[in-house]
Symmetry: C2
Subunit: 570 residues, 2 copies
């Protein structure tokens, strides 16, 4: 073990990626803009044939038994039931993991990975992400046809943005481990000679980590936990959502290849594909070998996981659901507000965990650069902006994508009932859009329901998909109070405010701090409240019920490893 | 909120303690020796009258209603049932906290403390610890007569060592908060002009923290959690063990005074004294206002706490119980080994959470610089060393202190039964020692029971107090395997190895890494396995069942605050 420091600095990989690692350390410390992976799918960036090659690689998986996971302990049976939200059946079959054997293999792989040290682990992890980046177009198609995201979003969020988040997790884990010196000579003054001891600090992993993927962002939400656990020395079992396996199968394949290419055991990353409705996550979580769980998904399972994890002594990081909120007070750029909001609500049919759901508007209306708008007028204008943005089916589907599951479709179809139940009105119904290329896709444009602030019973429930509420309040003061209150109680991943008043903005910042949610102010351009940038914006805060962790802060990584000291006199 | 950075750097307190804060940041990063508070109770260090003044101050509390907690919301009733393990009844009465009002007051105190920023909070916390240091002799007497520690230990562990641990927690919390910049201008390259946003990062506390003190180290084990929570912005309610209230009452009094002297609300630190066997910790933990709990004590309540905390979304840091282990293989300094071990076992009658309990010795005996010793011979020699060290009652009590509770006394009295139950032998019975000054004190020297390695049912239970097991193994290899296995299953705060073989030492380091416990090697001088030094040695690892956290690593502080961003275009 005492050679760890030597290993870390002389391993060829550590040199190979030294510059990247320095860049990501610095980016994380400053929180300035940083990106290693260009997010433009342009042929000028990724090459003339990249898009076609990626599509062909994706299509080559269809109707086959997934070939990239040789060497995983399997049960000689296969699972796979992915159907694209755009219509086609993927018909990819994945080898079913032999969980007992996989846990044994992961455990056996741990000591060499542990003893390689943080720098080598970080370098290997960068190698994995670089490998993922090279297959961005293939993964983009896989993300599109599992999540229902439109293609460009699948490419950006499922590819480079997810890869940058992976790098961020690697950087955060590396920095946190590097804060612990490898060794020190401790010298305490004493009467005669000082007492001198050498102390070696050894970073040790927690154990085997489990990443539970989600349907809507299979890579973006899985990578932070995957790489945070891996860089801190923990083997990882990836349990994808049964309807979004392929993007993570490709990811695991790449990880295993890069690990073995660098002399490490492929068992450090394994895929536990399951059949639809099999519910294997619960069984995996209850295995005593599992020490860490990262989860993105519904609140019910997330809450069970938090309780059960604690009972088992397992670290649990969750991103669940909440009610994302916007407070609208006033603006000097109404067109900008409407354009920005319409886009935020439209993107991926509101199926982002960051899409605004609750928009608080005062009953007396708002002041704008186009004059005073009543509550109803603001609603009409926003509805019109959405209709304009999504009016052309062929263009709309490039923003909307396809609805991912029956619940989203049910929500989108229930606006009239929601309005009736809540004594409110349908400001804009969720329009059925026909996809020109995929006639079986169920595509829905955003809808708006106006209701009174008293109907907490309706709007404090997450209504996932293309449904948002215009909530009529007595005043902006009430909007802010209700914003803070509902987020404290029900959680939120995002919040925004529009106001020309510095006082209101200050009050909104305080309300956001009280609620424990990050705030976007007066977004009227090309940045949207739904989006966060790796290395700069935290995704979630861990300070409200929507998530118990944030991508990627120190708390997300610091507990994934422990330090074991050995000390002796010198 | 945007003035936080300004406040932090211009506040007079931040300047006042700037040098200390720089010293502790640096000490923590290097893990070199650092101490702000001298641990010698010598008059040359603390002043000629310090000891007498401190004793007088302590005695002035006896038989009175505690006067230093004015302003705490009370119920106009008092509690207090402390009886010194040395005999005398303290008869101090503490105002009972009105918990509802206390939580409201703590909540109201939070925003100003939050907005003061990390540097000001750290400076105020240093001011509190400096204030505590000035009352070290008073606190030492309070620790002695609640824990039963001998006086010098009460002074050192209860005073300067605890104070250095407090500083360490302050440093760790400060550094972790400072890693988050207050503000950044984020500039993303774009087609035309870059997209520029200002992002302000605001450190926000979790909520109200609860510190649950223990009987044996009322200050040393309470300060890390107290100061880690406070420096990260959380108000703290201190719930002392009902038999060790006074040291924490004095602590809370000082904290409240320093807080108000610096313009902050005294409600940031409040004392929740309770009557013996009242069990108020459970009620406090279940209050939804409590966001963080730090606990030292028995495993039963600790495990409940970990489960319940998770169910409630409360962060829980525990230090429970384990089976501290020593593997004895060989030595070139037998006298040193015996002297060091005898002292480790004797100190505070084995009532430290770090005292070795299980000593593994091969059946074939060990090689030493005095020749080969059989298993029995080693036992006899260790027994003799203990007898020599504790043979003189008057001197022995200065090391042993007094037994703290009936369970310890029962354990000390049960060696013959233990030996009979386990098919083992009593190598050294736990001798009853008469305290020359306190005839009512129950004082016990360490006892040793030899038994076979197969009797896991006996030696994997914590047997708190002056009882240790000499466990006969087939070989050092078995000793190491059994060490790793029992620590993984049952936990340990400490471990040590004695060997002249580099191979054995290497294997011991690997076993310790696998078990997740820190290792002391070949201690034969004035450093003892029971002792850890602030800023350099982690206390616990959080990697085995004895504790889910360590004093003080990043994981101990990083989750006590969250970051809320506000971003806008510039």
């Amino acid at each position: 073990m005492t050679t760890e420091a030597t290993t870390s600095t002389t391993h060829p990989l550590a040199t190979q990626h030294a510059q990247v690692l320095e860049e990501v350390r610095s980016a994380l410390a400053s929180r300035r803009w940083f990106s290693r992976y260009p997010d433009s799918p342009s042929p000028r960036v990724y090459g003339e044939t990249a898009a076609a090659d990626g599509l062909a690689a994706y299509e080559a998986h269809l109707g086959t038994a997934y070939a990239g996971l040789q060497g995983q302990p399997g049960t000689a049976t296969f699972v796979g039931s992915e159907v694209s939200p755009y219509g086609p059946t993927l018909a990819v079959e994945y080898p079913r993991l032999d969980v007992d054997a996989a846990l044994v293999a992961a455990h056996a792989a741990m000591p060499a990975w542990r003893d390689a040290g943080p720098q080598v682990r970080a370098a290997v992890c960068v190698g994995i992400v670089d490998g993922i980046n090279r297959r961005s177009f293939e993964i983009a198609n896989a993300v599109m046809h599992t999540s229902g995201q439109p293609f460009v979003m699948s490419f950006q969020a499922g590819g480079p943005h997810a890869q940058d988040r992976a790098l961020e997790a690697i950087a955060a884990g590396l920095v946190e481990q590097e804060r612990v010196p490898a060794s020190v000579v401790w010298e305490k003054p004493a009467k005669d000679a000082p007492i001198r001891m050498r102390k070696d600090y050894r970073v040790v992993p927690r154990g085997i980590a489990l990443v539970i993927g989600c349907n809507t962002f299979p890579t973006w939400n899985a990578y932070p936990g995957l790489f945070a656990s891996l860089v801190t020395g923990n083997p990882v079992i990836v349990k994808p959502h049964p309807r979004a396996v392929l993007p993570l199968a490709i990811t695991v394949e790449i990880a295993r290849k890069v690990l073995t290419d660098n002399g490490f055991d492929a068992a450090l990353v394994q895929l536990a594909a399951e059949a639809d409705d099999e519910g294997s996550a619960k069984d995996l979580v209850e295995r005593p070998e599992i020490a860490i769980v990262d989860y993105t998904g519904g609140s019910g399972f997330g809450e069970w996981l938090e309780r059960e994890g604690a009972a088992l002594g397992t670290l649990v990081y969750t991103e669940k659901a909440g009610v994302n909120t916007i407070v609208i007070d006033s603006t000097d750029n109404l067109r900008g507000v409407l354009g920005n909001l319409a886009f935020s609500l439209t993107l991926y049919s509101g199926q982002m965990c960051t899409t605004p759901q609750n928009l608080y508007v005062p009953a007396g209306g708002i002041e704008t650069d186009e004059g005073h708008l009543s509550f109803d007028e603001f609603g009409s204008r926003l509805g019109a902006a959405i209709s304009r943005l999504t009016g052309d089916d062929a263009k709309a589907v490039e923003l909307l994508g396809a609805t991912v599951n029956p619940q989203v479709r049910a929500n989108a179809g229930a606006l009239a009932a929601l309005a009736a139940d809540s004594g409110g009105t349908v400001v804009l119904d969720s329009r059925a859009v026909t996809h020109p290329a995929y006639p079986d896709a169920v595509v829905r444009a955003p809808g708006l329901v106006a209701l009174d602030v008293s109907r907490e019973d309706i709007y404090t429930q997450e209504c996932f998909g293309p449904v948002s509420f215009l909530i009529e309040t007595a005043s902006t003061e009430q909007s802010l109070a209700q914003f803070a209150h509902t987020v404290r109680e029900h959680g939120a991943m995002t919040a925004a405010v529009y106001s020309t008043s510095e006082e209101v903005l200050d009050a909104a910042r305080d309300a956001a701090a009280d609620a424990g949610v990050s705030l976007s102010e007066n977004l009227t351009g090309s940045v949207f409240v739904n989006q966060t940038a790796a290395f700069s914006d935290y995704h979630g805060t861990g300070a409200n019920p929507a998530a118990n962790a944030a991508y990627v802060d120190a708390a997300f990584v610091a507990n994934r490893f422990r330090v074991v000291t050995s000390r002796r006199h010198v």
